[in-house]
Amino acid sequence: MPIEKFTTLISTAYPLPIENVDTDQIIPARFLKATTKDGFGDNLFADWRYNKDGSPKEDFVLNKPEYQGSKILVAGKNFGSGSSREHAAWAVQGYGLRAVVSSFFADIFKNNALNNGVLPVQVSEEFLQKIFAEIEKDPKTEIEINLEKQTITLKATGESEGFEINSYKKDCMLNGFDDIDYLLNMKDEIAEFEKKLPSFN
């Protein structure tokens, strides 16, 4: 199944300057009962985003009119810690986000995001704070993420920083490939490998 290709993204961003945003906040457990991947975007950050009666909390960033339509989420350090639920990545992707920028990501979230065409962009804490400051100054400020060059740039000031991604995953994102297709082509090799493992049954 191909994922959506990622080349260059220019967009405004939702700022979420909170640290340790865990997967229970990204998508609370009570929303994990679906048997398909659809519809999770509606419940992204549900407990921060909606009042008990289901109406939007006006002061939460996703509900503020000035950021609507952004394709980038900028969050405090250690984003995505906690559960392995891929539903968190489906919620981020389902909401229409293509990239999450933070100064630190939890491992499993990072993998899950990449497997769903969402690019985790890890920047320095200093650059992260610059982005937050720039958005605060102008909510319409644009950010450019160039995957080929592995750079993230604040369009207003031209300040830029590089980010890391291994070349295999980069290739997958640029071309929309998925890991399963790759592994399925190795099935015979895998079957041979399995025969050589120690077994005590």
């Binding site: 300057p17 340790n20 865990d22 559960s83 891929e86 491992d107 993998n111 291994n166 592994l183």
Partner: protein
Amino acid sequence: MEGKTLFDKIWDSHVVKSIEDGPDVLFIERHYIHEVTSPQAFEGLRKRGIKVFNPERVLATPDHNIPTKNQHLPIKEELSRIQVETLKKNCEEFGVTMYGLGHPLNGIVHVIGPELGLTQPGMTIVCGDSHTSTHGAFGSIAFGIGTSEVEMTLATQCIMQPKPKRMRINIEGELEKGVTSKDIILYIISKISTGGGTGYFIEFAGSAIRSLSMEARMTICNMSIEMGARGGMIAPDETTFEYLKGRDFAPKGEQWDKAVEYWKTLKTDDDAVFDKELTFDAADIEPMITYGTNPGMGTGITGNIPTLEEVDESSQKSFLKSLDYMGFKPGDKLEGKKIDYVFVGSCTNGRIEDLRMFANAVKGHKKADDVVAWIVPGSHKVEKQAEEEGIKAILEEAGFELRQPGCSACLAMNEDKIPAGMYSVSTSNRNFEGRQGPGARTMLASPLTAAAAAITGKLTDPRTIL
């Protein structure tokens, strides 16, 4: 050439192929699945028109959604019921063994794998659940994965992973009475934070770790993910072999001897080098309690919540947000705070030793009247043993009720939800906002500390009731 770590030995022997500047293709020996993170993976196989690569390596159990009362009745909540039924249908269609609701071997996936002897030293093990790290207690490489990776593993028995860095955490010396393995892991996380292990696979070592039972070791490895680590592991030894011997799926006869001979080779060489190494003194560890909304926000039970000045400036905003959710103030003393609920259970502390520890502590006391307590065994085997050993009787005598097994209030996907604003002392693994129900306020602790809270109705040093 320098020696190898235990982690390297197991990882390297399971690499089918290394992709240059990319991940390794890692062969997976054991794949556990449950109802929440597998339906979309099976759907993926169906869309691709492919089968499960080797169904014998997969075991399924519904655990996250199931009720802990009246399990013989249909599940009331429709979406939960559909998920559990979907798992059953998928397992039938793809030829995967499932221990369903009511089956005598059913239970929390990370409890039944070890108790059935399916988890063994030297294996690679995955599950669509972050607490898969539990199985590392046997000296295996075990870690949680997302649903795309569940699909990958079902389809090819392999997963693509960059090799993590290696860390060793040594706990040396003797634990004080009343201090448990849960306190060790909460202590470590409070020292290195919830991101302190990110990017690493951790080996736990040292004399305090070696002295622990298998179940206590599982509690430690279980929560390695709470410091961000990919997984945690402990080298197998006589304690491990003794635990495994005779279990349903453990090797038998001559195969057992061969297996033990191999398992004895599974240890870190003396001259191996870790990317990071930390050592803590067991004597410094007190019974722990968390006061915030991530597992790193913990302290000794006789301690106070940090003052604002004690917190890094950049983290102060998140710290205050967290305390506001908990209804606490910076600098508050923890002992004596009133609590409403006690939850004993989960893949962290839902095993027989945990129930035994709790029962021994409450024996001769009575549950505080205004505390609601849920005691949930990790599996039917644990439930049965608790009855046979008389634990159930002790609990009932003290005013507690033993429920039926499942993940229960650890993540509140079933009906076991802590009401908004209520304080829960929980033996589970996460105190995130809303984890035990919207608005619920969770304080993580050991079964002993939970017992002390349950009989006094407030946060209490468990050493005072022993």
